[in-house]
């Protein structure tokens, strides 16, 4: 009966295994069932043995199916539950194998060393044989193996229990746990029978039958689950069809063009957007049909990219021209990605494409705009790397585009400025704003050849998709600087020339100024020679003469010094100076001219004036101009030709210099106009004098203005700030330009 049941089960499981070779558990179960049949047959033989030999033979051979059952059980559990300690599994199998070897090599069997006799006992109305003999100590080996097997099974069941879900737990409890119990029971029963504690018969086979049944239940559950799964699969297919429908609907309404390709690279689907674009039918496009629309020039490249990406199962993006329904080739940006099933099977490709022509044109336009920009443009990303530059930038820095793209913007900064630049750069991205990088001082850019160019840099933050970038527009200031320098030079030249012209007007008086002392010197020297020739003894007289000569010589030298200062073309140099000294110096130069014109100059110079910061020659030029203008204004006057020069400290700490004449005065309408260039009230005036004066005074951070006096004539006043100390900022030469 047992045999029949087991045989049925064995065939069932074997057939399952035969159909699906991966289901090792079913094979092992079949083996176990067969061994149980063996065991049952041998047990029956043992029970019905008439001789000791027959009993011994059956008992010896029963260990073969037991070995088979143990091994099958061990690997069944491992295969079915996926748990169990491997070393324990091997140990159990090895011990059982050892038991089998011992069984055939020592004594009668593993159990008996020697069987002394057989006796018949009555069981359930049947007489069965029971052996009496010497117990074989090697039996303990077999028992140990069974004990370990039970431990192995229990451990495997526990591990499966801990790990598994409800299903898994049940499998673990029934499969692993029951097996362990049954093994333990079988082992114990067998041992007790051998010990003589229990009476036979051997009930190994029936117990194993329970094991087989337990296992069969489990495996049967598997079959049931398979059935359930199959039904779910059928339901799934329906759902799948529905989702495919949904996909098509979605794809057809998507604004992008969508295509699908199978594993053979041939296209299997195009959405309506695609078909509307190409104006072709699905059948025309399917397979390789769609490639007919590719622009011939792009064809090879396009198919190469597609094929290569396909073979490598890589994502790809390519750009090609595709013929639109109206025959126009449009620029298409096409991206594809491989599709995989849940278990990882490659299914083909899915791709989307869109008409990027307008985008490309916009991009092209943007690039053209950047290229056409008159200044050099460099875009730098958050890491300080150059990501974009235009032709002007190439020209300015002397690098080609390829040399700069991706490099740190620091290569464009002179080494001396780099430390500061990195800090600035960092700060900039902390608080990006539109601003000039080079405010105030000149900023230098470093070119490829190592030269440094003065530049003005404007920064604009741009929030790009790849992060914050800074757009720097760089303007080469070399030309501007040169022009500025030239303008400054011309300005200096003009000031100098007007000074020279003014002194030219004074040349007569100035020659007189020099010639007076020279006259005195010559007369004295020649007189001395005559005196010496006539009366060599009179050294007193000679000494006086020589003293006079020395004095006159110094005087001539002083006159020449003053003229030299005015005539020389010196760089403008600001320094602390006493304004009263400037006034007296000018009067020294003009003294003779004034007396020639019959003008009496009077000075009212304030004592203890603070020093002013200025260029003495330029301030003298202003005074020369104002004094000569004053004299000219009094040309017609017959009497009272007085000119007053006054210095004073104003309330707001400025030093004010005034030149007051007693002349015709200034027509009120001309009061401001006279300071404009080329405006003159004099017949032979160039009209530059006062405009130059104002330029100079403004450069000294002062003011120049004119007022008519209450009674007669006009007064010109100008102010110069008092020097407040060495920390006070020097007025720059560039300020003349305003």
């Amino acid at each position: 009966m047992i045999a029949a049941a087991c045989l049925t089960l064995a065939f069932m499981q074997l057939s399952i295994w035969a159909r699906d070779r991966t289901r090792l558990a079913h094979l092992l179960f079949a083996v176990l069932a067969l061994t149980v049949i063996g065991m049952a047959a041998l047990e029956v033989q043992m029970m019905h043995a008439q001789t000791i030999e027959a009993f011994a033979k059956a008992q010896r051979w029963i260990h073969v199916p037991i070995f088979g059952a143990v091994v099958a059980m061990v690997w069944f559990v491992r295969s079915f539950l996926g748990t169990g300690r491997l070393w324990l599994a091997y140990t159990v199998c090895a011990l059982r194998l050892l038991s089998l070897i011992v069984n055939f090599s020592s004594g009668v069997s593993l159990n008996y060393r020697e069987i002394t006799g057989l006796r018949q006992i009555e069981l359930w109305g049947e007489s069965i044989a029971v052996a009496d003999g010497v117990f074989n100590p090697w039996t303990r080996l077999g028992q140990l193996s069974l004990l370990l097997l039970a431990a192995y099974l229990a451990d495997a069941a526990l591990a499966a229990w801990r790990r598994g879900d409800d299903e898994g737990r049940r499998s673990a409890a029934i499969g692993g746990g029951s097996l362990a119990l049954f093994v333990l029971a079988a082992g114990t029963h067998y041992g007790l029978v051998l010990e003589g504690v229990l009476t036979p018969p051997y009930l190994v086979a029936p117990i194993f039958l329970f094991i087989v049944l337990a296992m069969a239940y489990e495996l049967g559950g598997d079959v049931l689950r398979a059935e359930r799964f199959y039904r779910q699969l059928q339901l799934g297919n329906a759902q799948l069809r529905e989702s495919e429908e949904r996909f098509r609907n979605m794809a057809d309404t998507a604004p992008v063009m969508i295509w699908l390709a199978g594993t053979d690279k041939l296209c299997t689907f195009f959405n309506r957007t695609w078909l509307a674009f190409t104006g072709r039918t699905m059948n025309e496009e399917l397979g390789n049909g769609w490639t007919q629309g590719i622009h011939p020039e792009d064809f090879d490249r396009c198919l190469r990219i597609y094929g290569e990406a396909f073979d490598a199962r890589r994502d790809f993006t390519m750009e090609y021209r595709l013929r639109r329904h109206d025959g126009e080739y449009r620029c298409i940006l096409d991206s594809g990605a491989p599709r995989f099933a849940a278990e990882g099977t490659f299914l083909g490709y899915i791709g989307s494409a869109f008409d990027a022509t307008d985008l490309k044109q916009a991009e092209q336009r943007m690039r053209l705009v950047v290229e056409a920009a008159p200044s050099a443009i460099v875009m730098v990303n958050g890491e300080g790397r150059i990501v974009l530059l235009n032709a002007q930038a190439e020209k300015l820095f002397g690098y080609t585009r390829e040399e700069l793209l991706g490099r740190s913007a620091e290569v464009l900064v002179p080494e001396s400025l780099r430390a500061g630049h990195t800090g600035h750069f960092h700060d900039y991205f902390q608080a990006p704003s539109t601003r000039a990088l080079s405010t105030g001082r000149d900023f230098l850019a470093r070119c490829k050849d190592g030269s440094e160019v003065p530049v003005e840099v404007g920064l604009n933050p741009i929030d790009m998709p790849e992060g914050m970038c800074a757009l720097a527009s760089v303007i080469d200031l070399t030309g501007r600087r040169r022009a500025e320098a030239e303008a400054a030079l011309q300005r200096d030249e003009l000031l100098h020339l007007s000074r020279v012209a003014m002194l030219g007007e004074l040349s007569g008086s100035l020659a007189h100024e020099v010639n007076q002392p020279l006259m005195a010197i010559l007369s004295n020297a020649q007189a001395a020679l005559r005196f010496l020739a006539r009366d060599p003894g009179n050294s007193d007289r000679i000494r006086h003469i020589l003293e006079d000569i020395a004095e006159d010589d110094k005087r001539a030298g002083e006159v020449i010094r003053r003229l030299r200062a005015l005539l020389m073309k010196k760089q403008i140099r600001y320094r602390a100076l006493e304004i009263n000294e400037v006034v007296l110096d000018v009067l020294g130069v003009l003294r003779h001219d004034l007396s020639n014109r019959g003008v009496a100059a009077r000075t009212e110079l304030a004592a203890d004036l603070p020093a002013v910061n200025g260029d003495p020659v330029q301030l003298q030029q202003v005074l020369l101009n104002l004094i000569m203008n004053g004299c000219d204004a009094m040309n017609g006057a017959l009497a009272d030709r007085r000119l007053t020069l006054r210095t004073a400290l104003s309330a707001d700490g400025e030093i004010q210099v005034s030149v007051t004449d007693r002349g015709r005065g200034i027509p009120p309408a001309d009061m401001e106009r006279i300071f404009e260039p080329f405006v003159s009230t004099k017949a032979e005036g160039m009209g530059l004098g006062l405009s130059i004066c104002r330029t100079i005074v403004t450069a000294h951070r002062g003011q120049l203005w004119a007022v008519n006096n209450a009674d007669r004539g006009a007064s010109f006043h100008f102010t110069v700030p008092a020097e407040r100390g060495p920390s006070d900022e020097q007025p720059g030469a560039d300020r003349i330009s305003d």
């Binding site: 007076q516 020279l518 006259m519 005195a520 010559l522 007369s523 004295n524 020679l529 007396s595």
Partner: protein, 209 residues
């Protein structure tokens, strides 16, 4: 008045120039007087004193040219040697037109200056002599009677006695007497002498015609 020592009048506003020039003149043994302005000179001006002016052109107050005019107005005979710090052609032409003796540019060499002064002295001396001579002639002319003066004018005009007698409505003999008296009063030994004296006094050289 016959032989007084001529004086150089130095006028310059620059005291050191004045001192130097003074020393030079002293070393050359010349008599000089120094003034630091035109006005100072005018206050001490003696029209009869011989000499010359060494005058600076550019000066406060009255300048050189103005002083020249002022002296001309006072009929000064003192020649003027102008000194100037710079050669201004327009000024020098004006000065020379108004009778400047010389126009020198500072600094001037002693030889040139002294020579100019000597020339000026000479000029002054000649001028003074001519003026004295004329005064003498006019003194003599003053002694002639009206008839004698008439006869003198005709004689200097080169007319023979007969014509003069006819013109004056008298006889030739009377004319001869007048003529001899004129010769005597004018201290003229020959007719040529008489003509020269009359010319110096401005008589006869075309003025009579």
């Amino acid at each position: 008045m016959n032989n007084p020592v001529p004086t150089v009048y130095l006028i310059d506003d620059d005291s050191s120039v004045l001192r130097g020039l003074g020393r030079l003149l002293a070393s050359a043994g010349m008599k000089f007087a120094a003034f630091d302005s035109s006005l100072a000179f005018l206050q001490n001006f003696d029209p009869t004193a011989p000499g010359c002016l060494v005058l600076d052109l550019a000066m406060p107050g009255l300048n050189g040219l103005e002083l020249q005019q002022a002296l001309a107005a006072r009929r000064s005979e003192l020649p003027i040697v102008f000194l100037t710090g710079h050669g201004d052609i327009a000024t020098s032409v004006q000065a020379m037109k108004r009778g400047a003796a010389d126009f020198l540019t500072k600094p001037v060499d002693d030889q040139a200056l002294l020579a100019a002064i000597r020339d000026a002295f000479e000029k002054n001396r000649a001028h003074r002599r001519a003026r004295e001579e004329l005064a003498q002639i006019e003194q003599r002319l003053a002694t002639l009677t009206a008839r004698e003066r008439e006869v003198l004018e005709h004689v200097v005009g080169g007319r023979p006695n007969k014509q003069i007698a006819a013109a004056l409505g008298t006889v030739e003999k009377t004319i001869k007497v007048h003529r001899a008296r004129v010769m005597q009063k004018m201290d003229a030994r020959t007719l040529a002498d008489l003509v020269r004296l009359a010319e110096r006094a401005g008589i006869g050289t075309g003025r009579g015609q």
